[in-house]
Symmetry: C2
Subunit: 337 residues, 2 copies
């Protein structure tokens, strides 16, 4: 399977490392042999139809800040030029999230689908802004568009949901979808002020230097859009979500909730009538009341009730594992058709 990787930051590099360390296992257990024919970052690309030497690409990225410096493979092309020049089966889109217009991921995904490539994206932006359209593009061309890593990181939330709805029907999805805000809320429960809890989350590497996407609830909203489309079959985008973040929560609110046996959590909720993100006080015994940087998703089904999945959310290595899962399912699909 020939792959082009767009974006070579934390996730892109973790993915390359995982390919190196798990090469034999992937071949043996899933018949998956991956050849990375191009890696692209914001400064250029490394291209080799025979397959890049990933050790070398990682080394040059680390030492020179870009894959464009890799000897004999480096160049200054951008993604759209690159994918026109190589033979590839899959684009792995791992550039940064942009909620204004989804770029550069949006163009990457559209170009790849137009040229007949399957797509695995861990970038939420394009999906949050245009998921119904992108899904239709892929279906129309009978190509795979996979995005396990966008929700829950290493926790297979989407696959779990897909399995649950077989022979049943999902009526509601609720989730703690952002580890940073959940960490902050848990620490506030334990007595910290918002600012101190945020600073601690940043120190521990959970929150970005600019935590706006997290604390405004927008990151949760993006993931909720993906769940609503995929699990409930709703055609919604970020515009359709009512979003409230955690910046207005006071220690008193949390203390009050606690004394009533409740916990304040930033929930994303999608059901028939509405889709919203909002801090809510839920029972401490609710399986969704997870602590620290955990994620949790509850799915309510018509026949078999409410199922919950919990685990640690994103991290470079976890998200890279999700890319591998998606590649395996594309492989199975390629064999089928």
């Amino acid at each position: 399977m020939n792959i082009v990787v767009a974006g070579f930051g934390t996730v892109g590099q973790s993915f390359a490392q995982l390919l190196l360390s798990h090469k034999e296992l992937l071949k043996k257990a899933y018949g998956l042999v991956v050849k990375v024919v191009a890696a692209v970052d914001s400064k250029g690309a490394a291209v080799s139809q025979r397959g890049l030497d990933l050790e070398l690409v990682l080394k040059y990225k680390r030492e020179h800040g870009t894959v464009a410096k890799v000897p004999s493979a480096g160049c200054e092309m951008g993604l759209t030029e690159v994918i026109q020049g190589v033979e590839a089966d899959v684009l792995v889109e791992a550039t940064h999230t942009n909620l204004t217009n989804g770029e550069p991921g949006m163009t990457h995904i559209i170009k790849a689908l137009q040229l007949g490539l399957n797509v695995v994206t861990v970038n939420k932006g394009p999906l949050a802004l245009a998921m119904p359209m992108l899904k239709e593009m892929a279906e129309h061309r009978r190509l795979a568009l996979k995005f396990s890593g966008t929700v829950g990181g290493g926790l297979p939330v989407l696959a779990f949901a897909k399995e649950c709805v077989k022979g049943d029907r999902a009526v509601k999805v609720e989730g703690i979808l952002n580890g940073t805000t959940n960490y902050i809320l848990t620490r506030m429960e334990e007595g910290l002020k918002f600012e101190d809890a945020l600073a601690e989350a940043q120190e521990k590497g959970y929150a970005e230097r600019d935590p706006t996407l997290d604390i405004s609830g927008m990151d949760t909203a993006c993931k909720l859009v993906i769940l609503a489309n995929e699990v409930l079959g709703k055609r919604v985008t970020l515009r359709d979500v009512r979003v409230e973040g955690i910046t207005k929560i006071k220690p008193e609110d949390i203390g009050m909730a606690k004394s009533l046996g409740k916990a304040v959590r930033l929930l994303g909720v999608a059901e028939e009538s509405e889709v919203f993100v909002k801090p809510l006080a839920i029972d401490q015994s609710d399986p969704l009341a997870v602590k620290y940087n955990y994620n949790a998703v509850a799915l309510t089904l018509e026949n078999s009730g409410r199922h919950t999945i919990t685990g640690k959310g994103a991290g470079g290595r976890e998200t890279a594992t999700a890319i591998i899962r998606d590649l395996i399912s594309i492989k199975e699909r390629l064999v089928m058709t």
Copy 2:
């Protein structure tokens, strides 16, 4: 897809009802058209190569206690005679659990595999006693052997685990796998005596009239064997599991645990070195510390940490939903090959 149903008790009947009520949905969403060519119970069978009228079969089972009385289809044959006489793709094995020798399910499954039928079983007995052997038989003949309904009922524990381990490796499985014992332990936490909690579980229909399998820990052990084989790749049977039930637990033990912020739960644990069932005091904040008749399974992965899935366990309708899930995946497999 032609199906033979062995065992027509609560689960078998729920399955027939689900096929009736979801006929159009299954066809539309999954291309799955199911024809039940035979249903067998302990007193005989109803057989029709053109497909049984399930409304009629359900009516006769209800009114006469056996499918053998169905006009023009009823007869006194047993399963092994029936499957030699009909053309079928799948055996759905839903007879009662027997942990002494696995019969009659054991013979049903072996015969079906020998005759080239795929198998979906919700009967744990044969798997608990001989899972490595049965899996080998099926693999050798390139037939499917599916058993989603044996663990977690409607909660897709096995599919979840299978998805988690793609591109990763499971090192430990822990679970609350029996709703009856969990209900009893939760009620004891709330002040009831063991006997009263058990009586209440029976009243609510969670516990069987003979609750021995539940409270002895054997039901948990069966499910643990299935998880250990399927998720950890261990070749184990019921003999390899050290089993302790909940009959010796005193109210004081539970009170003491509670005062320490812990909850006593009957856990099944499988890891590299050992496989055991035992009541353990776990943190109340552990995602496994579910209440009442909930089930929970935690999977520890090498790369992405500990993932947990929780939801209500078995019930006729939930388990029947699991059969449908298995049939859908067999359908996808038939299309593939």
